[in-house]
Amino acid sequence: MPPASPQPPQPLPSSSSASSSSSSSFASASSSLSSEPSASGASSASGSSAGTGTGPGTGPGAGTGRGGGPGAGTGTASASRSRSRPAGTAPGADEPPLRKLYRSADGRLLGGVARGLAGHLGLPVGWVRLVFLVLFLAQGLGVLLYAIFWIVVPLGVGGTPAESRPLFEVTDDGRRRLRTPDRGQTFALVALFAVGTVFVGSADFGRADTGRYIWPTLLIGAGVVLVWRQADNARRAQWASLSTDSRRRRVFQLARGLAGVALVGLGLTVFMVVRGSAAQLGNVLTAAIAVVAGVALLAGPWLVRMTQDLSDERLMRIRAQERAEVAAHVHDSVLHTLTLIQRNADDGGEVRRLARAQERELRAWLYKPQGTGKDEATGPDTLAEAVKATAAEVEDHHGVPIEVVVVGDCPLDDGLTALAQAAREAMVNAAKYGGEGGAVQVYAEVEGRTVFVSVRDRGPGFDLDAVPGDRMGVRESIFGRMERNGGTARVRSAPDGGTEVELEMERAAEA
């Protein structure tokens, strides 16, 4: 206890300030989430009902006395309070689908239970950990609770976010040095040490009958924790990044799992040795192996078949889901378009327009790269998107197919937006006057700092000088716009008839 006594003055102000900030964040969370007040109400209500003996005393205390709690709270008071907290999360967990309790996958020390709980309750992680630690003193209840949470609560994205900091930091002169630990962590370590000391002291290793069980239990516990975390990692690797796992990491994971198993085995062995039944170790082992073999023989095939069935079923479900999605899309778009085409069968232009629009949409849906959702609502961010969107629009409006080829890409700036608008005007002209000759070809290229767009049709072509001066379309919308934005535009007749508009512009300097 002496090493712990100088510490409380330091953490107390920080914890009280943390409490005020946490309570304010809690309040904001509850105001933003309509389901939250009921959940907190349920937690306090169940808290008073769960703590049967100390209930009346801790009920109001749980609301107001949080700030002064950690230092002053005796074992029973904080224990009952913290017992009320996990009990309160159980109804909260299945009540609102909006905010389910997950174990936090990142920034966790063991199973991520404390972090997940902290995120769920809107409390600092340190508090939750402290409560678990204190509970650990109460006949090891904390360990039990923690284990139950670990088993029951799924790993997921949740909890309070933790910034990952490397163990080493690079100083200004380029040397790596050990990162200076922050105050909270130091405090947590000191507290852990103090609690451990108290626990070891109270466990009274002098007495032979307790002492011989403590160490094997600790060994087994450590092994179990190792293996469980391993299982978590395996599961996490399934839904998280699958590209980063290298062979070394896999070997490391294997080693960790084996170490866990070895620890558990060692603990059990020590257990037996300590119990004085080492003499019968051989017999017991033989019997155990016989039992395990028997169980494996009996249940093994059944288990294998069950896993196979399960994976089959999962595969089927995924397939069915995909099929349903495809069916829904085909129904929504393709069938409707076909109906429209049937109805407008005589109107060739309309049919072509519908078919082109549908083709484009279906193509985008089928071949879109994974991960880019269809954010049609937001405007284009890059030149390629802008050119494609413009072409699609003109195509829809004028019923002339426009074939777009884009090489390279770059983000849009003011000048490029103007370029896209000029290109649009060129496309409209090409569709209007040159659409009979076939598809309009649009080619955009980003090469270094230069952006080049060519719009080409195979129509009759036209003479720029012959265009009357009052016709502003080409002069203003294409030439004027390009010149104002520092680009150039050229119109020329293509070698085999038709017209080609070439637009060129330098990209703005990158910020």
Partner: protein, 242 residues
């Protein structure tokens, strides 16, 4: 894709079309899993008297395709990219010996509704001599078939765009890997193809002969097949194509 061959009609072309119908005949196998599409293509190009294309076999999946190609040994195979049994790439893999055959090699022209980059690059790397989409007109398709039979590459504007994109970033590193690099002229030719020019128009534009254009394009195709080097891989990985 109207920009592949002579869009202005096949009548003016010297190397194909009606002029050479008597002298030139090409035996073609159609591989596509849609019967209606096969029928349509057959109707469009299969009038041997006028087009010079003789459809000697049809297949609906990979196994059938390999059987038919082995049995008939056509000069050109019109190959759909998406096929039951492994896709067009699988057909190309299993027919690789025929492609390398010294006399009358079988040449493949991919004909697909998809113009997604992974499909295009995949079959070209598999050994197809060209890639056209199903929106192509009958006359252009016939022209492309003859071109492929001659050993030339048939590039659609989109395919040219993909290739330019793939090689675009390779100018910067000064490493001497000439095999993987496009020459200035080849880039120019590809750029014009991407802009929708026919081979003939490119020739006129660059003051070179059509044959030179074709040899440039063939060189690009050869480089594309050979270049399993880092550029293409990086490009493909960036786009999650591999």
């Amino acid at each position: 894709m109207s920009g592949i061959g002579g869009t202005t009609g096949t009548s003016g072309e010297g190397d194909s079309g009606t002029g050479g119908a008597e002298s030139r005949r090409v035996r073609v196998v159609l591989v596509d899993d849609h019967r209606m599409f096969r029928t349509g293509v057959q109707a469009e190009i299969g009038q041997t008297a006028t087009t010079g294309v003789e459809v000697v076999g049809e297949a609906a999946d990979v196994d059938q395709a390999v059987t038919v190609i082995t049995a008939t040994r056509p000069e050109v195979v019109l190959l759909d990219v998406h096929l039951p049994g492994g896709g067009g790439v699988e057909v190309l893999r299993r027919c690789a010996p025929f492609m390398a055959a010294a006399e009358n090699p079988v040449r493949f022209l991919a004909l697909s509704v998809s113009d997604a980059a992974e499909d295009v690059i995949g079959v070209i790397r598999g050994g197809a001599r060209g890639y056209v989409t199903k929106t192509i007109t009958g006359a252009d398709l016939v022209d492309s078939i003859f071109r492929v039979q001659d050993g030339d590459a048939v590039f659609s504007p989109r395919l040219a765009g993909f290739v330019l994109d793939a090689f675009a970033s390779t100018d910067a590193p000064p490493v001497d890997e000439d095999m993987d690099r496009l020459t200035q002229r080849e880039r120019e030719v590809l750029r014009l193809i991407a802009r929708g020019y026919a081979y003939k128009e490119i020739a006129k534009q660059l003051f070179i002969s059509v044959k030179t254009v074709e040899s440039h394009v063939s060189a690009v195709l050869r480089k594309l097949q050979l270049s399993n080097r880092h550029e293409l891989t990086r490009w493909a990985t960036a786009r999650r194509l591999v």
